[in-house]
Amino acid sequence: MRVENQIENGTDSKKSNGLSRMVYLMAPFIGIGIMLILWFSASAANPQAFPNPSAVLLLLYDLLFHPLSGYTLLGHVAISLRRVCIALFFAMLVGIPLGILMGWSRLMRATVGTLFECIRPIPVLAWIPLMIMWFGIGEKAKIIMIFIGALMPIVVNSYTGIKLVSPLYLDVGRMFNASSQSKLLLKIVLPAALPTIFAGIRNATSMSLMVVLAAEMLAAKSGLGFMINRGMEAYNMTLVMSGMVAIGVTGAMLSILTNMIERRICPWNSHTKSE
């Protein structure tokens, strides 16, 4: 395709040809447009399985004002978010120092680190049955589950961040009177590791959303996962889709918020978008 040959590596977007420039600008909309068309036709053919997108949006709007099982849409969002935030807070409280210590001290790595590495391969969701047996299906159980899920990426990233600090910075520190262990750690290693630690927090946030969803789908009376579950039980696909959209939007918002916070705390980071 002639248009494709004019594009190099996706970075050179200077189009000399008017038509190709138009195509380039319209492309995103064309893509979404095609998908919407497919969706609408599928939903016309089988409304039970493929909820009409407009119906989904209408339902979402409706849920803003009319409670479902006691909570409006925003109520459910708030409940899910509350669980995530509490768990994230504790995960950061425990995980960041733990990861830092593990990255800094070989002894810690050999002791606590070994235990951690044994627990790590167990997927978060595999803890659910055990957690239910131990803590039932109350709030505490769910928050603990999310905590476990969020803890892993935070510890791993904090640990990696510390380990991967450039030796150059350590040399600089030693040459400029920051040679004591505590000074090196606080003034050089920690700031250098901050961006990686933030990446861990970002991972933990998306992991938390996933866990809260699973936990709510399995055993809850409120929250977005519960909403989806209700839809599933009642074969109300529109409700299910609404839940998914709500989660997607919530996740995106959380992600934006985390990025904003990171940019305030780490202004020196020319943030490249990679995961």
Binding site: L168, R174, A192, W268
Partner: protein, 256 residues
């Protein structure tokens, strides 16, 4: 040039090898190097790239220990990093999370010097390197040359007795490099210190050095010591300059 021939730094029989792994034999990097450094002189260590010079510098700075021999500054042996020695790194090594001012005042701050005093100190050197106005910028906003100037200001701000510069202009483009060479001459004239400067560029060595110690390639040994008595700033087209350059060039080992 008047030189009180007071010895500031003495290296005696420095040798250093690196073990690669248990299979290959030790990689000898420095073999029996001894020399003296005089008060306020600009000493250049010249040699082919990638062999021993940086290691020697790191030993002098206290970042590495020699297998054999000793280094002493004003009679005291150097066993570890020492605030009396300032270092300018080839890769600059500015801490990215600190502003220019915070980077420059880092040394004094770590020593516990009060805010007004250390900021005055840092400001003085930032002005000297021509970076006044950039105090609140972050390193990522600066060009290579500017970053290295901060590196120089930072080293000076720590009020060291000895300044070590490890190929500080090696990563800069030719134009910036010429500018920085003139600048460092200027700075060295205004703020007299004992300076040890490493480079692999003969012309740079001749432009800057009061004395040049020429090293062999791996393992590094002293090949020759040249005293350059030309007045500074030097003209690289001058007859004597070119003669010295030819002489040193003929004597230099080629790097592998």
């Amino acid at each position: 040039m008047e030189q009180p021939h007071k010895v500031r730094v003495k290296l005696e029989h420095i040798s250093k090898s690196f073990k690669n792994n248990s299979k290959s034999p030790n990689h000898e990097v420095i073999r029996d190097v001894s020399f003296k450094v005089y008060d306020n002189e600009f000493l250049v260590l010249l040699g082919p790239g990638r062999c021993g010079k940086s290691v020697l510098l790191n030993i002098m700075a206290g970042l590495l220990t020699a297998d054999w021999g000793s280094v002493s500054l004003d009679g005291e042996q150097i066993k570890g990093p020492n605030p009396q020695i300032g270092m300018v790194f080839q890769k600059t090594g500015l801490l990215p999370w600190l502003t220019v001012m915070e980077n420059t005042e880092f040394g004094p701050k770590m020593r516990g010097i009060g805010k007004t005093e250390r900021q005055k100190l840092a400001q003085h050197f930032l002005n000297l390197v021509g970076l006044d106005g950039y105090e609140k910028n972050y390193p990522y906003q600066l060009s290579g040359g500017m970053k290295q100037r901060v590196g120089i200001a930072r080293a000076y701000s720590n009020e060291p007795k000895l300044l070590i510069m490890d190929e500080p202009f090696g990563a800069l483009d030719a134009q910036t490099r010429y500018n920085m060479q003139n600048e460092i001459l200027d700075i060295a004239k205004k703020e007299k210190r004992t300076i040890i400067f490493v480079t692999n560029n003969i012309e740079e060595a001749l432009l800057l050095g009061d004395r040049i110690i020429l090293f062999t390639s791996c393992p590094a040994q002293i090949k020759n010591i040249y005293e350059i008595n030309l007045p500074k700033p030097r003209d690289s087209m001058q007859k004597e300059f070119l003669r010295l350059r030819r002489e040193i060039s003929d004597n230099t080992d080629l790097a592998l």
